[in-house]
Point group: C5
Chain length 90, copies 5
């Protein structure tokens, strides 16, 4: 799992039928201290995350498991809204 911040939405009228009604968010991957890293990606959101929320997301075939319909063609999904990251220096 990786951490990211919600920064926008993606609108696609013409899409795969299994994606009808599925919310697509633009998320900015961040490190455990909240600093941006790598490029924003598009993820499905079954948790109703809001703009600015820090989320935990997963990638790959398993991302569809975040949805009710697990054969939906997606590869990135939000699975948790993060309250805090407790990091002790090793």
């Amino acid at each position: 799992m990786h951490l990211a911040q919600v920064i926008g939405r993606v609108v696609a009228t013409r899409k795969h039928e299994a994606l009808e009604g599925v919310k697509l968010l633009l998320i900015q991957p961040v490190d455990h201290e909240g600093s941006p890293k790598s490029e924003p990606i598009v993820a499905v959101d079954p948790l109703q995350a809001g703009e600015g929320d820090t989320v935990a997301y997963i990638t790959g075939r398993e991302a569809a498991l975040a949805l009710d319909e697990t054969f939906t063609p997606v590869d990135a999904g939000i699975v948790g809204i993060v309250d805090s990251v407790n990091h002790e220096e090793g």
Copy 2:
């Protein structure tokens, strides 16, 4: 999911039988502002996207879910034609 722009087609006469009749597009990955990033890849297209369209695509085993025959050997597939990306600065 990632964003890309359709930039061409790939023609392969001799191919895996499950790929017969499947359209193969050359797509250029772009960021959320439409700027090119990384190398073009080849993706299956069940949505009849046209040259210049911005699309959302997925990668990996799950890409086959974009097709009717889900055991087709593909690893990148177009799942939406993007109307707009709404990005508010965090």
Copy 3:
């Protein structure tokens, strides 16, 4: 499989129901000599690893196999607590 050191925890109250009761650790990938490499990630932990432990972890869809409920939407999981790495120079 890759090696990592446990460096913290991630707390998420609102999350996918299959993740209820699943422990989420922040782990720092390390090389075979224990030096940090790449960014910390979030992994599920079914083995009760402690802060500072060196662990072997896996990524991708198969990470869910580390849990009792194999359809849980996760993509990184701890599968072993490492006692030693025996490395002879080739």
Copy 4:
């Protein structure tokens, strides 16, 4: 899918039983203009591609779908022999 050129073969007498009789090729990934990029990899070839051919290949679990026995442990497979890549500048 990605493009590559066939540049050699890999011989392995002692191997997983499901790989008996499966041809292993060394392929050099190329971009859409035929220029080499990244490192050569080893892929299974069910299409009898020859030295110098340009091929389309897939990676990951889905690569096994290119073979008759879909539970073969492989992660890269050739699925098409490319005749041409039509690329119009966007």
Copy 5:
């Protein structure tokens, strides 16, 4: 598939039960000419490879297919011991 050289072993007493009795090797990825590339990783070995052997390995969910128990949580497995790589310059 990728090529690697066996350079050591990983010992983990406390681990996922499906990994009991499974041999874990430290392998150094190499290119087709035998030169090291990228970081060593940990792979399961069902073929009894020895120190210094060149092996072909796979990554991802499909790595478990290299073992008798295909639901074992692993993501890298050795599938062949390489005799030779025949590389003709294209």
